[in-house]
Symmetry: D2
Subunit: 305 residues, 4 copies
């Protein structure tokens, strides 16, 4: 987030724009929590997690009254262009807002869930993946030392992008994602096959979106007779110093967003597609569901043999 | 663990002893899972988490039959001295075993819980503290960005040593340990005071030993009206590459344990007391409860103002 | 490296091939340091730095005699396909070897230098970038606290790929790469401009390929009158647990390499191009020089204002 | 540093003192770079490296004029007590200053060199050790993969405290410190012995204080015929997020320093001795040289066999 704010602010300042920061996301726009930004006000933040502008869920923006206030504020401050940094919800709000204002808006996909159609990767995804991988590498120490099964729940909301990449890169024996349901008995038999091969520990990476992981791990213990533990990786996945790749995407996305506004483009989001920095319409992005690359899951299952 | 195994093995080899490793802890002693160890067989492991000898809970050792088998095995292999690496449970088993055998035993306290009487610090404690601190530093990014309360549950079994040190060093607003119960209304008022001071986020570090942290975080949200999240730091605390300090203690403890056996000492555990490597009797250690230094909690509450 | 070896071995085993590992690179092929590999022999290595097969520079392979021996060995073991994991030098040797044998060869670009034509990214590059970034983040603490200029030399052999990405993502004030020489007086004036803006510290990321960084930092101190320090980031950049992205590329590249051999393809290298896993001819890759994306440097200089 | 500033400020505020921060160390006292500090002004810094107050070497304080100015400033601001955070040089300056003023002063030993008499450990030492250990763990990956000798130079100024602890905890084959010179031929023979045991790589940890490590590594390569590389661990050792232990010491030392001043004590430094937070006179500390515990070196050499 901070690396994105830094990029947007400095590229905009470089192009001669005045930059305002609305604190606490949409709430800041509605409630006039605004602060002037300069190249200096974003110095020393590229390596910091979180966001200096703060953020919050803002139900108010989903109401007519909230949207009207937001539109009024954009007029009041005579905003030539609004950069919306966030995920799904932020972009839906931007779309609704675009009905009430002519202020051009460009979205920058920044969410650990990587569930935005129109970009192969979101800002923060690589950081969250590496945070989860580092934790699971440690959990594996215990799994192996104690010959235990670990079900590790990672974030990702209703999607499996985070779980799939984490599972592949930690060498998980099993990866469970909402997009590709696996029957419990299949899970049991994979574990039993492993035991027959002499592999007495296993890491099962499960997306939070698959449902009750606690019940699952009990079922595994009950059925396989092997000690099974559940570990829910928490909010650490959302914070921490960003990886180089997240900082890189934040920088490129921030630059692209300002360029698009400078060119008079509007109501689109920037993205990374086939290795290039691109953009697509807000509406197009919101309207489509990003497919999960299932080949990653097949590869993971081969590599976990 | 591995750093301890390395130290014991190499110091013993240096002193001309033959070294046997019993795999999977007591179960290995009972079920004859033994492997000859040499200086070479422990190379390249000082920086690895977990244990190359594996370990497991072994109910069998709590039975007369199990103890008898263990004692018989010690005789069979003509063991001159047994080094027991572990915590509370391992040492209680060692004490019971000492009734049935003359084989001298020395314990090395290695547990993240730091709850062994007779040592100011256990092997692995510093590693677990730093793992938890690194995670909570990341959680704080989210807490601050989102103005949220986080209840973070750390391990420590029935004691608060881990929670107290973690809470002090992350600058937790509140630390909850079993040794010093805090009434819920006190917790609420501390949070409300902070809000009145303009501090809208808080980290509450809670030892797993205090009970239902999920109920607690709901109660906090309900009472303070602030979004509250629970994050349970999992088994990552038990693994990972050991910190320098844990490696240092492992090395000193391993050396001391072998020296004690070489001197004919028996049935004691090594420890760090007032900055010196020492030892006390197994029975004395098992019989006493290690006090928690409450001044740490007072200092933490002053520093979190 | 290990993640690549794991992927090649397991995918090949999955496809029913026997797998042999030649230790210490070409030297192992010449001197018959071979070991049979199985799915099991690569377990638990995906998170380890270095390579279980060891490696070494092998001048011998640049001689007719060495090549002849290598070719003979391939025949002796009746090798159906050779996967060559490494960089520039390894691939040149593979090309020379291909004159003397019909054994199909496929290269997997694995070098922190990212200087292989035909792939946008090499295995290990992301890991090296993040290692350097983490170190420089720490150096910046000192730079800012002490108001100092730091010249930080990173690896990359004769190219600036590593320096450019590291410089962008640490927010370096200046990035120096061999592909785009900067005159010393330009460097001085950038620093002086920063001072006039009240920015009394600076990080200058320099590729090892630009020449004498020690002389440079003395010149900067002499000319600007600001305390300047040189920090040469060492071999830590070559080791350490791989990042998720490096593990991902290793897995995809390993799979692709085996598939190409299974399809009877020969004398090519796998790569990532425009976000897709692809391949190009060994000869084509060796014949061309990979261009450095200078837009990264321009973006970095804007973002460092 | 920041953790210490936080502790001093908050404990002092808690006791009802007004707190002033002098920026850039002694220079700030001389040149009137002062800022009022409150509990709020040190929030969110416990996990940050460096120092929010900045620091700098200040030759001026070694002059009569400088000291006079500093003394005058203490009177001007009517300072009841001065907390001096730093090392050797800072404390010598404090002693000189104490001749010209009655303002009580208490020193907090904060240096990665751990070379202050009167404390077993300084703030920052544990952090620097762990940073060096993490880097050398990565270097060992390369050392083992390439069968190479690495000479790794760590900081520590004229003393070997950092090198000794780092060397022990990375399992260095050889540790070189100024306090215990080792003849080159002894180094060569240790390496040759290792080779004869089949150990073809080695890590030699050398304190910067032993002299020319570049010449040493050339001599090793020349004499043993094994590829030898020098890696100088740089300023990263001085920065980075502090370890839990450094934060703990910073907190305890800060509290103790304020308590001593509140009790009217003067001209002493706080310390950790035999596991207790203590203090000794500034003069006593400056007058004595802290001994290096050579048993650590003996233990390291046994454990590296």
């Amino acid at each position: 987030m901070n690396a994105t704010i830094r990029a947007v602010t400095r590229v905009a300042a470089f192009k001669g724009f005045n930059v305002l920061g609305f604190c606490r996301g949409w709430e800041g726009l509605i409630s006039d929590l605004v602060k002037p930004m300069s190249a200096r006000s974003v110095s020393g933040i590229i390596n910091l997690g979180g966001t200096i502008l703060h953020t919050t869920r803002c139900p108010h923006i989903r109401t007519k009254a909230g949207l009207a206030k937001a539109a009024a504020r954009l007029a009041e401050y005579d905003v030539d262009g609004l950069v919306v940094i966030g995920g799904d919800g932020s972009f839906r709000a931007a779309m609704a807002l675009s009905e009430l204002t002519d202020t051009p808006m460009v979205g920058i996909p920044a969410t650990i869930d990587n569930d935005i159609y129109g970009t192969d990767e979101t800002v923060g995804f690589d950081t969250a993946v590496n945070t989860a991988v580092a934790e699971i590498d440690k959990i594996r120490d215990t799994a192996i030392s104690l010959d235990r099964i670990f079900v590790v729940e990672v974030m990702g909301r209703s999607r499996g992008f985070l779980a799939a990449m984490v599972g592949l890169t930690v060498g998980a024996e099993i990866i469970l994602v909402p997009e590709l349901p696996v029957r419990e008995d299949e899970i049991f038999s994979v574990i039993k096959d492993n035991v027959s091969k002499g592999k007495r520990s296993a890491i099962i990476v499960a997306a939070e979106g698959i449902g009750d992981t606690r019940a699952l791990s009990s079922a595994i213990e009950k059925n396989t007779g092997l000690e099974t533990r559940l570990s829910i990786l928490g909010y650490a996945q959302r914070g921490g110093s960003p990886t180089a790749r997240s900082r890189y995407l934040a920088s490129e996305f921030g630059k692209k967003a300002v360029e698009l506004l400078a060119e008079g483009k509007s109501n689109c989001i920037v993205g990374l597609q086939n290795g290039k920095i691109t953009s697509i319409g807000l509406r197009e992005s919101a309207g489509a569901s990003k497919p999960l690359d299932e080949s990653i899951l097949r590869l993971a299952s081969i590599l976990a043999t």
